[in-house]
Amino acid sequence: MAQVASITLLQNDDARPIIEAILADNPGVRVLNMHGAVKLDCDHSITIRRASVEERLGRAWEPQEIQLVLVSMAGNLDEDDDHFTLSWRH
């Protein structure tokens, strides 16, 4: 079984540009819509790129701001100034 990297975000306007950036940057991502939240799953690794979010948001955005809309996640986190990545790679 492939290891699944996963992130769950709020289903709201603040999270939407992040959700869209994830859908654009992670081919094969699977979407589970829940009431109030959305779970995004991807085999092995899932990443959020700062540039992709900023492009959609139209303002500067730091990956740490994700904490305001984050519900849950699975995978080892690698966070830096330009990305937020969850993966099972080493």
Binding site: M1, Q3, V4, A5, S6, T8, L10, M34, H35, G36, A37, K39, P63, Q64, E65, Q67, L68, V69, L70, V71, S72, M73, A74, G75, N76, L77, D78, E79, D80, D81, W88, H90
Partner: protein, 506 residues
Amino acid sequence: MTVKKLGLRQRYEHMTRGLDWETTYQKMDDVFPYDSFEGIKIKDWSAWEDPFRLTMDTYWKFQAEKERKLYAVLDAFAQNNGQTNLSDGRYVNVVKLFLTGISPEEYQAHRGFAFTGRHLRGAGARVAAQMQSLDELRHLQTQVHTISHYNKFFDGISEFPHMHDRVWYLSVPKSFFDDARSAGPFEFMIAIGFAFEYLLTNLLFVPFMSGAAYNGDMSTVTFGFSAQSDESRHMTLGIEVIKFLLEQHPDNLPIVQKWVDKWFWRGHRLLGLVAMMMDYMLPKKVMSWKEAWDIYFVEAGGSLFQDLERYGLKMPKYADIATEEAEHISHQNWAVFYQYTHAAAFHTWMPDKEHLDWLSAKYPNTFDKYYRPRWELWAEMEKEGKRFYNMALPQLCQTCQIPMAYTEPGNPAAICFRATQFQGETYHFCSDGCKDIFDGEPEKYVQAWMPVQQIFQGNCGGATVPDVLAWYNMNAGADNMDYTGSPDEKIWKEWHPDADVARKAV
């Protein structure tokens, strides 16, 4: 000249390193007296990394923003009488169970992380534990604030701290956290940080809170997801702890494995309450407990333990039994509360036909065969005016403190009993998992405050049900018994005079 801003990594370095010092007036071992007796060996605390790289300044900024959003929603909910827009009056019972059974554990977690944050030698780990301690206090406070609005209209809420220390089923979560908090700091981190936060809280806060959203409880879903944004950080801390301990010394592996086995099983037992909330207490369903278990334990836990294999850590012992029980546990727990509704501070009911059909569809292997016939019989007895109450006090499992109502692995028609002898006394258990935990530390568990034994010993207000309920501060006739005929139902019908008609029309 513009000053260049520090990057995330540098900022984290500056705010978490070099904050501590080697003490000289007192020996380090006297300053940190609790971090060696568990046998955990740490060679290099500076190898500790928080992948979020969250520093206190940023922490305050984000937490303040989360609070502003949450309290705006709570204000709106109260001003617009949000309680009248719930899916059904029965829904409020999940909120009652949450406040009495879960919120006090947020406070216990706050205390536990404050202690751990004081007693670990590494500054990075101390900063992370400090933040989590503050988070947990925030969770308690926001939950109390949110649910205080429901307390204006519904029963079973107002005495929650008093009840938490006394009521029989609330001793289940209470004893879980008492066990963790009376352990050493490393076991506490594995128990709460890893086993509870990483493996199990998703099951509580994600599908259940989504259920709150679906049932019109805008306030609970908002505190739930606001708390859950902190939980993601806690989960990361939990996984960091386990990797750190396993990387520090090979001798740590058997100790950590034993804790993982123990706390997985204890958490599985505790979350049986949530299983019941999801399958029986949400008027509008989101997913079954079994479906949630498959997503959040089988799939997510499977990925995690595949990752931890490289350290030699194995899947928790009895994980297969827990997965088998996911098809039974919500039904068995609801049966307990239905039988003892006279002693519970929330209301119970038998599922209607639509609900029974949903359970049959979600549990094709078990529901029709083992549970539906019993529910239909009990519903029939209710109609005949012979509603079934169990007036005998149940035997409790010495470890999880849940009545001995669970069944044998592989045979759902037989109750599972296990027993052990210790210092001339016999102790009883609901499962091999709970028996193993006791056998690992019998000196600890013989001291457990067992609600039924305490009643028999005369320590709970008297020998009759009314005496004990009075000692619980339970308002008999309002807080307890079935939803049908309760003051909760009465007020709900006043708000929705045509509710029954609408229900039938659907």
